[in-house]
Each structure stands twice: as C-alpha cells, then as structure tokens.
Amino acid sequence: MKVRYFAWMKRTVGLAEEEVTLPADVTTVGELVAWLRQRSGGHAEALAEGAAFGAAVDKRTVPFDAKLAGAQEVAFFPPFTGG
C-alpha cells in the first residue's frame, strides 16, 4: 500500500510517499496513523496526536475510523487552503 504526505507533513516526515506492508492488526486509518508514528521521529511529529490533519483513501476524504481493506493509496494532509 502506498502512503502519501502533503504540504508541511511531507517536509516533517521527510518523504512524499512510501510503500508499506501493513501488519494484520492495522485495519483502519486511525490504526495506520498509530503504526506509522513508530517509523521515525518525523513520522511521530507529523502524525502526532492532536495535530490538525486529515486523510484520504484512494483519493477520497475519509474519517479516521475508515477501513483500509482494499485500499491502494492512503494520504495524509493538513487542512485545505485553496481558492
């Protein structure tokens, strides 16, 4: 599964994207966040509890309790500031 980071999260993690293989007990976006935090200090900081960020699964915004089954791409990003 591909994980992507945008805006300041990309800089803090130090990666625009990475391929991950999920352990069997990581089944929701929220569980993925907790699991990714352990990968590096950058991950821990970008995905810290209480930080304002959202997620998309296969390019659709989802809540953190969304299931990952079948997902090809999960993205994390700060609040949108377009327009």
């Binding site: 949108f80 500031t81 327009g83």
Partner: protein
C-alpha cells in the same frame, strides 16, 4: 461542466466566451477570480508581505473533488453552465489563482451557486498554500472564516 487544474495562467475572457457560446438561455453569469495579494490580511491583522505563493495539490483527488462540488451546485440550482479553473505551482502577487464562473437564466441562482462553489472549494479541494515572505517560508493555516463560510451551505 468543466474542471481544470493547471500550472499555467487562464484567460478569463476566453473562458467566459466558451461558457456562453451556443447557449442562449444564460441571462446572468456570476464569476469569481481569486488573486494573490501582496499583503496577507486576515481578520483585520496584517501579516508579512508575500513575495510568492506556492500552491501544492493532490493530482487526481483535486479534479475529483472539484467535479463533485460542481455536480452538487448543479443539483442545488438551475444552472446552464459552470467552469472551475484552479492553478497550482508558484504564483506572485497579482497573479490569478482560481476562476469560478456560473451561468444561469437567473442572476440570483448564478450568484448563489458561484459563492457556494468558492466557499466549498476552499474547504473541500486538496490545495495547500506555502507563502514565501521576507521572513522565510510559511504554510498558510486553514482559515476559520472559510469553514464558517462553507458551513452556510450544509443541508440540514
């Protein structure tokens, strides 16, 4: 119904001509053009001067999000034609960022749908702004006012 996400500038006159050509039912065209300001003014507070603004987006998701917003506007108002063009990449003060244009038989519907589209795209389309200021780079935070503006349109 047209959505485009592009790095290059757009030609407002040409976009509007395309929108209205061969449609004689449009009585009013409401248009919004967003531009890069030199001073970031928010809630009365003048921030740093901006030398440039870099817009990052999420290719694929951006287009899908804009198309969904556009379709929602067509469900809510009797619209004849809409176009949304949003730029990404590096922009300087005075540069155009976004064009939203709505054609309808009635001006009230055109105005309402245009405001709706601008409010919603600010909160639902995956764009992020990085400001280049004399004091260094700064990511633009989400604006509480934008969320309030978008919330006006939530169907109860």
């Amino acid at each position: 119904m047209t959505v485009r996400v592009q790095e290059s500038d757009f030609d407002v006159g040409a976009e509007l001509d395309r929108l209205t050509s061969s449609n004689r039912r449009i009585g009013g065209l409401a248009v919004f053009v967003g531009l890069v300001r030199e001073l970031h003014v928010r809630e009365g507070y003048h921030r740093d001067r901006i030398d440039a603004l870099t817009l990052e987006h999420y290719p694929g998701m951006t287009e899908a999000a804009l198309e969904e917003i556009e379709a929602e506007a067509h469900r809510r108002w009797p619209l004849e034609a809409t176009v949304i063009v949003h730029r990404y990449g590096r922009l300087e003060p005075g540069d155009r960022i976004v064009l939203v244009a709505v054609g309808s038989p009635h001006r009230e519907a055109a105005f309402e749908a245009c405001e709706f589209l601008v409010d919603w795209l600010k909160t639902k389309a995956p764009f992020w702004k990085l400001e280049d200021t004399p004091k260094g780079e700064k990511w633009v935070g989400a604006h509480a006012g934008d969320d309030r503006a978008a919330a006006r349109w939530v169907k109860k």
